[in-house]
């Protein structure tokens, strides 16, 4: 591989990392960004998606097991999210610190639950054979540069999920309700919108997306009881840099963080790149405390 090849492959790796971060952060962007709920169990919902994918993989469905795994993970996590919203989150609206503590407790319970059910050892989820290859870029003058199909698949999943969410939020009736509640909860309620129900739906969509993301990320990462912990910090990072309440901002932030991280890793080590990334993010927050995209919202104003 040539130097130019390294630049090209890191550009791709940056986009790939961005798509991974976006998948990890999207669910959080919904619950944290739209509802102002700090869900510390978000990482564990990703972990849950991975385990649901593992269960789907054990069913005798042949080539359909990956789509089935994604579906099952999304549906299972959404149902669990509904349960979580009805039993814990709903009772703690407007008390962000209590929510933080309670959901952290839920994350511990989920980790121990996974450990009790599946054992402390991780489970095996591998990419199907049709995702095993890579596309070489030799023909366009970049010998040695290959785009792994698994990473392309994850980029595609991230793109589809983002587009789907954007479509729902901007084009559907439910999306309109969500935006109305987000912009001014009292006014929305005065107009007869059941804001509790809207909250439940947003939270379910957020956790469902997290489950789907967990199933997709299991293709290139381990599935263990504690794997959620390795995503949660980056997920918060991306949501905060992106700006609360904006999917556009979240997507832009994920891509920026991914590209920056991949670029830094070329010149430094992975450890140092992490440090430098955090320094850059801290500096950025000083300049733009409200993130890349600033949204006007009465709900977030009060928080």
């Amino acid at each position: 591989m040539t130097e130019l090849g390294l630049v090209a492959s890191q550009l791709f790796n940056g986009i790939s990392l961005g798509s991974i971060l976006l998948l990890a952060a999207l669910g959080l962007a919904l619950s944290f960004g739209l509802m102002n709920v700090i869900n510390m169990a978000h990482g564990e919902l990703l972990m849950m998606g991975g385990y649901l994918a593992y269960l789907a993989y054990r069913m005798p469905v042949g080539p359909w097991r990956l789509p089935l795994a994604l579906l099952l993970a999304a549906a299972g996590a959404a149902l669990f999210g509904a349960l979580l919203e009805l039993t814990v989150v709903r009772r703690l609206y407007g008390r962000p610190l209590d929510t933080l503590l309670a959901t952290w407790g839920v994350s511990l319970l989920m980790q121990q639950g996974a450990r009790s059910l599946f054992g402390p050892v991780g489970v095996e989820v591998t990419a199907p054979d049709w995702l095993a290859g890579a596309i070489p870029l030799r023909s366009i003058g970049l010998p040695g540069v290959e785009l792994p199909l698994v990473r392309l698949f994850i980029i595609a999943v991230a793109g589809v999920v983002l587009a789907g969410l954007a479509l729902v939020l901007t084009r559907s009736r439910w999306g309109r309700l969500v935006r109305a509640v987000q912009e001014d909860r009292d006014m929305a309620e005065a107009l007869g919108i059941n804001s509790r129900r809207v909250d439940l739906v947003i939270f379910m969509i957020g956790t469902g997306v997290a489950g789907l993301a967990g199933a997709a990320l299991a293709l290139i990462a381990p599935v263990t009881p504690t794997v959620g912990q390795s995503y949660i910090v980056y997920a918060f990072l991306v949501v905060i840099v992106g700006g609360l309440g904006s999917l556009t901002g979240t997507a832009a932030a994920a891509l920026a963080v991914g590209l920056l991280s991949a670029w830094l890793q070329v010149f430094t080590s992975v450890s140092l790149a992490d440090v430098l990334l955090l320094v850059v993010v801290m500096a950025f927050i000083q300049v733009r405390p409200r993130g890349i995209v600033t949204r006007l919202s009465r709900a977030l104003e009060e928080a």
């Binding site: 591989m1 090849g5 390294l6 492959s9 890191q10 790796n13 790939s16 990392l17 991974i20 511990l108 980790q111 121990q112 402390p120 050892v121 991780g122 095996e124 591998t126 990419a127 095993a132 290859g133 890579a134 040695g144 290959e146 792994p148 199909l149 698994v150 990473r151 293709l219 290139i220 990462a221 381990p222 263990t224 504690t226 794997v227 912990q229 390795s230 991280s261 991949a262 890793q265 070329v266 080590s269 992975v270 450890s271 790149a273 992490d274």
Partner: protein
Amino acid sequence: MIRSCTSGRRLALPALAALLFAFLMLVMGRTTAAAPAAVPIKVGVLHSLTGTMAISEVSVKNATLLAIDQLNEKGGVLGRPIQPVIEDGASDPVVFAQKAQKLIQEDHVVTVFGGWTSASRKAMLPVFERFHSLLWYPVQFEGNECSPDIMYSGAQPNQQILPALKWALEMGQKRIFLLGSDYVFPRTANLILKKHIVHDGGVVAGEEYVPLGGTDFSAVIAKIKLAHPDVIFNTLNGDSNVSFFKQMAAAGMPPSKMPVMSFSIAEQEARAMGPALVAGSYATWNYFQSLHVGTNQAFVAAYKAKYGSDQVVDDPMVHGYVDVMEWAAAVTKAGSTDPQAVRAAAVALPWGWGAMGSIKFANNQSLYQKAYVGQLQPDGQFKVVWQSGDPIMPQPYDQLTFPGKSCAH
């Protein structure tokens, strides 16, 4: 040593339960003490039974208990049964130190078998030195330590990483890429490796570290592609290995195309990761389950009979087992359980013949043992492809990297 702990917040409840259990055992022990039978010899078994390290350490605890069972079936030592007092280190070095002190002071154990991470060993070291007790540590580690109150049966650097280098160079693999998790074992191991690679005419093709638990290897893999190494020396820890091998395969470099020599993947880890993912890669240990040496096959059969036929045995487990057997032989030789007398007897024992073949504790309290290079097969077992000739003398301080340093006590 390789795997290290990252979390200790899950310890409160299990620790409480363990304490309650220990208390009950104590009370029950008191009530039966009036019986005329010989007074048992109490030994401590201190491993992480909860937390991130439990996955590795529970199996070492099991192997240790198997050895104690087998000794008791033959009448114990000095005519007295051996009574294990089991404690949970909870994957937290602080807890390891507390439990070590509790075992010595409250349970009056004569010795302790345990520890895995270097952090746990470093935390327990001052406790054992203060009470002049004796710890048997079963895991390979980075050397550079030589306490009079610890018996180090796991490999020193010259018994694992340097034999691996010798193998690689003999195979004509001159360009070596060093990849590890970012903490003490990989950093020290690679420090030693770099000196020897250059000294022996090889080339360090690259050196990269990833934070503990790191899951993204895209940049590292790009650098590996750019460096064109002949072999990768992998000191990654635990879960990071899963990400690394998955992403290497996705990038068109499975172990069959790019040889990887791992120092933290034994039979247990291979089983946990799914052997298909890592089949074809190499590992260097002092023991493999598949070895036909000494009494190994009987040991494997006994372990499976006690813990289940689906269980596998690996290097740290056999070291935990051998530690108990050597301790018992030393107690018999010394005619006493006093730690000082046992230590002196242990290094004066003749060559032992057991599950690891020929072994013997050297004067520096580490173990003479052979090194083997194995290639991982799809069934999760290793096929031995290379072995050192005679058992290798343990060297806690690598003379090329740390000239002039030695065990002086």
